[in-house]
Symmetry: C2
């Protein structure tokens, strides 16, 4: 036993730092590894054509014998979305609360992984033993139900990982975050606190989810004569519950629209996480049987996603719903950074159809502001602070908050993905680095699009492509046919005048030049053609299309 207690705990984030999304962290103690969360990230602007991004889990594959399981804090995509991909390589059991397990099962079903994956539902207050670790699930509040913080007990000490959370004293469903338990564990001594940084730049408190319900009541009472359409996040079941409550109070029927909204509400309803009064929910096809002022529609599309239901309504592409003057449309959401323009576009389209669009102050965040962060730190009183969940600017903001609470700078660790933080009661330090990365998923391809392909897509997107095809006689390199020049995405050919004709002459000249200088290597000939044509096009247009010479042999 002596040796055991002298080992240190390793905390190794495999993603989720330096970015929003792709949360996954390994905790390692001797021959045991547990993995907290396994999320995806949505592609950055420069990841052209990419559908989603998942973490590189080489470190887990290389240590597969140690890995005891995935412990999941809640059911958002940035915490569960990579599971179907990662499970194919790291097939270990999953532990989570009830709704979280149900949402994971929906995913496993889609990927045909339901049979091959072990999973176990854990209750708040319950602990599980995984190798050297004991993990306790603690009730929190968040913008999805059944969110949990984790107390991770190891021989080297206890870590509290908050997951994503807020402090909601008047939650819509279930209890307030279990502050007493945070205090109790804190009192016994906590080595490190890993706390949500998303809103760490914001002063004050995040408002209770229940305040949005009051706002809905006010809007419903002010818009008694119109149809009401509300867009929000599909996973925010409490939000939908409050819409249903207001609808019931104001004698309106509710239609749920959008694939992910229908799925989540279906799951939540089966499990009893949402209470829908009888005869309140109607099918979208029944809408025509009710007057506008007896209808509420809850829909996806609050982020301006082009394929989501509300965006299709705004663009007149929705098969069953036509926006009309007088409709009251509510965005119960804030744009996620990067989505501002897309959301604005949808708002403008809806206004253009005569709708009254409400998008200010009908949303509260699911993450803690500075005062809540201070509260958790003061209950837990950790020796070390490890801000998590956010870009560097958010982690740094939490580090500043922790500093104001008296935690010395050398006990605050802003980690990067791959950092190995070794810690125990005596000290803590980053002692190494493991391989991590972001793997891009494009269609069925996982990892087959890399930087070269992305750079080509970027190049193609900016100035298009010019393809030069010619046939050369094998030995003499005499031109047998071509050069033919075809372009796409470069210039509208009818506007290009004789640019293409001149381009052909430039290629012929470059080719003659090669023959004159007895350059016979086709690679070199292609380079000569590419450079001559590129210079010519730049001079004429100040554009740099990709130039692709293809030589056929005859």
């Amino acid at each position: 036993m002596k040796k055991k207690s002298e080992s240190k705990l390793k905390i190794i984030p495999l993603g989720g730092l330096e970015q929003i999304g792709m949360n996954i962290t390994a905790f390692e103690y001797e021959d045991s590894i547990i993995v907290v969360d396994c999320g995806l990230a949505f592609p950055e602007d420069d990841m052209l054509g990419i559908d989603l991004v998942i973490p590189d889990v080489s470190y887990l594959k290389d240590n597969i014998d140690k890995v005891k399981g995935f412990v999941i804090t809640h059911g958002h995509e940035d915490h569960i979305g990579a599971l179907p991909y990662v499970l194919k390589e790291v097939n270990v059991p999953i532990y989570a609360t009830r709704l979280t397990i149900a949402l994971i099962e929906n995913k496993l079903k889609e990927h045909n992984l339901l049979r091959s994956t072990k999973r176990k539902t854990i209750k708040y207050g319950q602990s599980i033993n995984l190798g050297a670790f004991r993990i306790e699930f603690i009730k929190t509040n968040h913008s999805i139900q059944d969110a949990a913080a984790l107390a991770i007990y190891s021989p080297a000490g206890t870590i509290i990982h908050t997951g994503d959370f807020k402090v909601d004293y008047t939650p819509v469903f279930g209890d307030t975050i279990d502050l007493q338990r945070f205090a109790e564990i804190g009192k016994k001594g906590v080595l490190a606190l890993m706390c949500d940084s998303t809103n760490a730049e914001r002063q004050g408190y995040t408002m209770s989810e229940r305040t949005v319900g009051k706002t809905f009541d006010n809007i419903f009472s002010e818009h008694k004569n119109t149809r009401i359409i509300i867009a929000t996040f599909a996973s925010n079941v409490d939000r939908v519950q409050q819409i249903i409550n207001s609808a019931y109070k104001f004698k309106r029927k509710v239609v749920v629209e959008g694939r992910s909204m229908v799925n989540v509400i279906g799951t939540a309803s089966e499990l009893g996480y949402i209470k829908i009064p009888e005869n309140t929910l109607i099918d979208i096809d029944q809408m025509k049987n009710y007057p506008d002022n007896q209808m509420v529609m809850v829909t996806t599309g609050s982020q301006g996603e082009s394929m989501a239901a509300l965006s299709r309504m705004a663009a007149d592409l929705h098969k069953k719903v036509t926006i009309k003057p007088g409709d009251t449309i509510i965005f119960s959401s804030n744009p996620i950074p990067g989505n501002e323009k897309a959301v604005s576009k949808v708002i403008n389209e809806l206004i253009a159809k005569g709708a009254d669009v409400i998008f200010q102050d009908v949303h509260v965040s699911g993450h803690p502001c500075q005062e809540e962060i201070k509260l958790i730190y003061s209950l837990v009183k950790p020796k070390y602070a490890i801000p998590v969940h956010g870009e560097l600017r958010h982690l740094t903001a939490q580090a500043k908050v922790a500093g104001t609470l008296g935690i010395p700078k050398d006990r605050i660790f802003i980690l990067r993905s791959g950092d190995v933080l070794e810690l125990d009661d005596k000290d803590a330090a980053v002692t190494g680095k493991v391989h991590t990365g972001a793997i891009m998923v494009d269609g069925l391809g996982v990892g087959d699009v890399g930087n070269i392909v992305l750079r080509d897509r970027q190049h193609l997107s900016e100035d298009g492509i010019m393809i030069v095809v010619l046939t050369l006689e094998k030995y003499s390199n005499q031109l047998l046919s071509g050069p033919d020049i075809v372009s796409r995405g470069f210039v509208y050919v009818r506007e290009a005048g004789d640019l293409m004709g001149e381009a052909r002459s430039v290629v012929e000249e470059a080719l003659d030049n090669c023959l004159r200088h007895k350059i016979s290597d086709w690679g070199k000939i292609k380079t000569e053609i590419r450079e001559a044509l590129s210079d010519f096009i730049w001079k004429k247009t100040k554009r740099r299309p990709m130039i692709l010479p293809i030589i056929m042999e005859a």
Copy 2:
């Protein structure tokens, strides 16, 4: 004279509505047209590779004999940026205040148009006569100096066009907006008010520019031992003045960095719009002669523009400035919608280098919030309200504000680009539509990139391109060489396994099929190849690269 006064005034926005940017509005009375502003727009996200967007001025070209001149409200790009392009087709004189003219002249110089363009500097309070119109320039406040509102007097009545403005009771340079003159003209009777809508969704007042100066003083006094780098808008001369004031107070030298910053400050300084104490400004190469705590750098890059000075410093690409731990870096700006992620990226990069980055509450807007809009309406008391400058959501927000002031709904006009609003003291109505549009500028090309090219760029950016080249015998259509398949931006070929080999077989099969069915038309053969290959690739990868068959003849 009788006939004249019976004509109506036409107001025809040729851009600037439904969007931020590209402000240009024609005012027409009988055989006189004046044009207010001539701005560019920055490309939307789906305008891949486009540099900037200018308005289609066919209407002005078609009525060139009527057009008397451009009247420009202020020197921002969205009000002057299209002039060099439009002047080539509509060469009429330009009227504006002194700094605005100077900034326009900088542009004309770049485009070699200085000689061929007439221009006249107008003072506040001064009027010019252009055909049937008299136009008076009225002092306003904005985030650039010398901004003017216009009183446009026509036989059909007076229009007040605010330009972009705010109400600043304590401006840094020059006087407060001339509220008395607005009142005086309002008292005499104003037909329509065209008022800035940018901030119409925001309650309250925009704070005075001077408040930012106080913030600078506070930051300077709290960071006495570090280098200070401040990014802001190049055109905000008052902001730079306040940085210089704080620098002088705290005994720091000032370096100006970034091409547009150097240009604007140079122009402003020559004209006396900025006061720089002797020995305050130093050249970037002199920086090394001063300790960090005696330096302030003012730089471009506050919007995260990848080529701007601060972004290059953050990415370690700047030749003369290296960010180091301890640097205090201030974003004196808010991200313009659409730039949030780019700005965040730069902030994160700077923090990663150990800099202390301050980006909250070091900026005020240059546009009026709701209370300022109400003030202007209450001074001017127009018969008709025509909200301008903004997307539909902003125009609608101003329309609501106008509604609360008692202007009846049927006297509020939310116009679209091209609408012809005819009005006089008796009534007002949209009576027609003229051709308008957005012309994309890409490199030297103006208007040679249209929707087809953009659609191709979009397609190329998502899944890349596969090019199939083959040589057919002219009459028999026998395959002589190929098919060769080349791809770019589709898949990393080393990861693609035998996909390319299989693809070649698919193409050969499609070709055989054509021969068997005696399909000899090359267009049809290409279609068959494209469809067969597209189906195959979709099945294998769920991607849809552009497929481009090229048939060579031998």
